[in-house]
């Protein structure tokens, strides 16, 4: 398992361990690759497609968060093509639901918003779909606004893998996909929810928030989830 390999990231030769993903290796060597559905300490699912990279000899772009490194792998993490591609991915996220930063509790502390700013997304070139989506305010401490959910499933994994409660899942397919708590029960009635709030801390946008905070007030402790995993693994 600890077989050492050498890979090239943006031309630089880097020593890595087989089984590590491109994203892990890149981060360890301080190379930035944008990522949204990836969260350190949780399994990787490759859902958001923001971490796409070019691999020499491979015709298609590959997600860095789920692609393991191999000896001799050469990766390009930034190129005009990748920039354009990531921008499209971000715009599609915005077009899919109702993201109104101006009135959002997480504005200024939102990973989606930050990435959009970093990628120069000033407007969205695709028609908005303006879905009518509910807001689940049934939990006494937390609120889930589907309008702001990007279906990254970080909450699903944080709840299942760290808290072990597995309250959350993604139900439905395609544009009908929705985050659901406990077989579509309102969150406040989910008996397996321990109200630990890890899902809220894991959420990259304002979709999950503590109740009572006004616009721009919901800051999250991003490292909580990752730190819990590393404590458990004793590293």
């Amino acid at each position: 398992m600890t077989e050492k390999v050498k890979v090239r990231i943006d031309g630089e030769v880097i020593a890595a361990t087989a089984g590590q993903t491109i994203l892990e290796v890149a981060r360890a060597s301080n190379t930035y690759i944008p990522a949204l559905c990836y969260m350190e300490g949780l399994s990787a699912v490759g859902a958001c497609r923001l971490c796409m990279v070019e691999i020499s000899g491979v015709g298609r772009l590959q997600p860095a968060c789920t692609t393991p490194v191999q000896e001799g792998l050469a990766v390009v993490t930034s190129s005009p093509q990748l920039q354009a591609y990531r921008k499209i991915a971000l715009e599609l996220l915005f077009a899919e639901r109702n993201h109104i930063c101006a009135v959002c509790v997480s504005s200024g502390h939102c990973e989606l918003q930050t990435l959009a700013q970093d990628h120069g997304v000033k407007y969205v070139r695709y028609p908005y779909s303006f879905p009518r989506l509910p807001i689940d305010v049934s939990h006494p401490r937390y609120v889930l606004d589907h309008n702001r959910c990007i279906l990254c499933s970080r909450c699903v994994r944080a709840c299942a893998e760290i808290e072990g409660a597995h309250v959350w899942d993604v139900a439905g397919r395609g544009t009908q996909s929705m985050l659901v708590s406990e077989m579509k029960r309102p969150w406040g009635e989910a008996t397996s929810c321990t109200s630990c709030g890890k899902c809220v801390q894991a959420c990259p946008t304002g979709a999950m928030a503590e109740k009572g905070w006004g616009v721009e007030e919901m800051t999250k402790h991003r490292t909580t989830v990752s730190r819990l995993t590393s404590m458990r693994e004793g590293s």
Partner: protein, 473 residues
């Protein structure tokens, strides 16, 4: 039947239009003020957590976001059933006063001064900020400085000029920075001097507008405004009072929570703006006005020395109850005096620096009503929530709404005087829109700020054929 329509083409949400109806003899027989705004607001906030209402509702208007914020957080305070810490209440009032100052400066100098200082019949090409710069550069500079003072105070308090997120249900989210207090205190005297100068100038100028004073909504109505327990002017907090056109108090010390027993809302067929009326008098007899002039008519006194002296002089000139809508301008300057004095009082109080500024609570009441005196008049936010705090129903009554009936009646009065026959003079067109601007409704004003009033006045025959057309260049 011939119809003249004035279209305000504006870039902001809300769209105003004036229709003047001529009878077969070519005489004005009716006039209407139509508005399209805030449609569907109640619908799209349904299901949202109540504490998001301040940020959402403050987006209704880009000119007075602080007013909506404050009315909204007050409604939310009630849903939480908390008492806002006293420093927070002071800070909110301070923010509100700064907003009043900047808004009144905008209305007086930027929007109305071209008409007021250059004259209603001045060449439209020069009746704008540029013309003002040539002929009254000092007044223009004063206006800009006063507005800037208000804006900067808001920015210093809320760290944001537009749509501040500092004001939250339960209080404010950060205490006052002692440096911001020092800076604002240091700038206050200069701002007060601007208002004094402007008042002195206006007192010399105002009587040069006898026709406008005579014809701008110069008719009896009731007036509505907030007053303190002592009957003095209140802007941030107080109880509602109605006075009649003769100065008699019609209803007094109405708790904001009881507003619905006194204010009814009629839906008009040709406007999205509902027409509120004083319920006991019925519709449309219950016509009343709000805003700076109404507040001065309603209050026994201002409660600060300089403003009270100005108010006494104002009443000496025009009587205890001042009916002409043209005097909204004068009233704005008196209120700016009051707001600056009030800011001084609030900032002088060391308790304003207290760091306990926010009460936290969940949903403790299923209903919340917040009322404040916005720059343009009484603003009411009324929400109902379910047990989890999701909005189930919302109602907003904005200042321009309260004045709806009075503006319509005022337009008719002006039109009867200045529009005659099938020909329209530019001065007449401008007077009609100047009347609307005297009320400073939050539509149509932003375009005028640039000195461009894209108004179209159409004269149509019964068959729809355009007989005459006049457009501002």
């Amino acid at each position: 039947m011939t119809r003249i329509t004035i279209d305000h083409v504006t870039r902001i949400e809300g769209h105003g239009r004036i229709t003047i109806q001529l009878d077969d003899m070519g005489k004005v027989c009716d006039a209407r003020f139509h508005v399209t705004q805030i449609r569907g607001f109640e619908k799209f906030t349904e299901g949202r957590p109540y504490y998001e209402m301040p940020s959402i509702t403050s987006r209704i208007c880009g000119i007075c976001p602080v007013s909506h914020l404050l009315a909204s957080v007050k409604a939310c305070d009630e849903i939480m059933a908390v008492r806002v810490p006293s420093a927070a209440a002071k800070l909110r009032e301070l923010l509100h006063c700064a907003q009043i100052v900047q808004s009144h400066a905008l209305s007086f100098f930027h929007l109305s001064a071209p008409d007021l200082l250059l004259g209603m019949d001045a060449d439209p090409a020069r009746r704008n900020i540029a013309g003002l710069l040539e002929e009254h550069p000092d007044a223009l500079r004063d206006g800009i400085a006063l507005r800037k003072f208000g804006q900067q105070t808001i920015e210093r308090l809320a760290r944001e000029r537009v749509h501040p997120s500092w004001t939250v249900p339960g209080g404010v989210n950060a205490p006052l920075d002692p440096q911001a207090r020092e800076k604002t205190l240091a700038e206050l005297p200069a701002a007060a001097a601007v208002v004094q100068r402007t008042l002195a100038m206006w007192k010399k100028t105002v009587d040069g507008f006898p026709n406008e004073i005579d014809a701008f909504s110069n008719f009896p109505t009731m007036y509505l405004g907030l007053v303190g327990p002592d009957g003095a002017l209140r802007l941030y907090d107080g109880n509602l009072r109605f006075v009649g056109s003769d100065g008699a108090i019609v209803a007094d010390q109405i708790r904001p929570q009881d507003y619905a027993s006194y204010i009814g809302e009629a839906s008009l067929p040709d406007s999205y703006l509902k027409a509120p009326y004083y319920r006991p008098a019925g519709y449309p007899d219950g016509i009343y006005r709000v805003g700076p002039l109404a507040r001065l008519n309603v209050a026994d006194r201002c409660g600060t020395p300089d403003a009270d002296a100005e108010l006494a002089e104002f009443r000496e000139r025009y009587g205890r109850i001042v009916q002409s809508g043209f005097h909204y301008h004068y009233a704005r300057l008196i209120e700016a005096t009051y707001a600056l004095e009030r800011m001084q009082q609030l900032l002088d109080d060391p308790a304003i620096l207290d760091t306990k500024v926010r009460a936290h609570a969940g949903v403790n009441s299923s209903e919340g009503i917040g009322v404040i005196e916005a720059p343009r008049g009484t603003l009411i936010h009324h929400y109902r929530v379910d047990d989890n705090g999701a909005i189930t129903w919302a109602n907003l009554i904005v200042a321009t709404g309260h004045n709806n009936l009075a503006i319509g009646r005022g337009v008719l009065q002006v039109a009867q005087r200045f529009v005659d026959g099938n020909k329209i003079q530019e001065g007449a067109l401008n007077r009609v829109s100047a009347l609307v601007r005297a009320y400073d409704p939050c539509l149509s004003c932003s375009t005028h700020a640039l000195g461009l009033v894209p108004l179209v006045l159409e004269l149509r025959g019964p068959d729809g054929q355009v007989l005459d057309e006049l457009a501002t260049p």
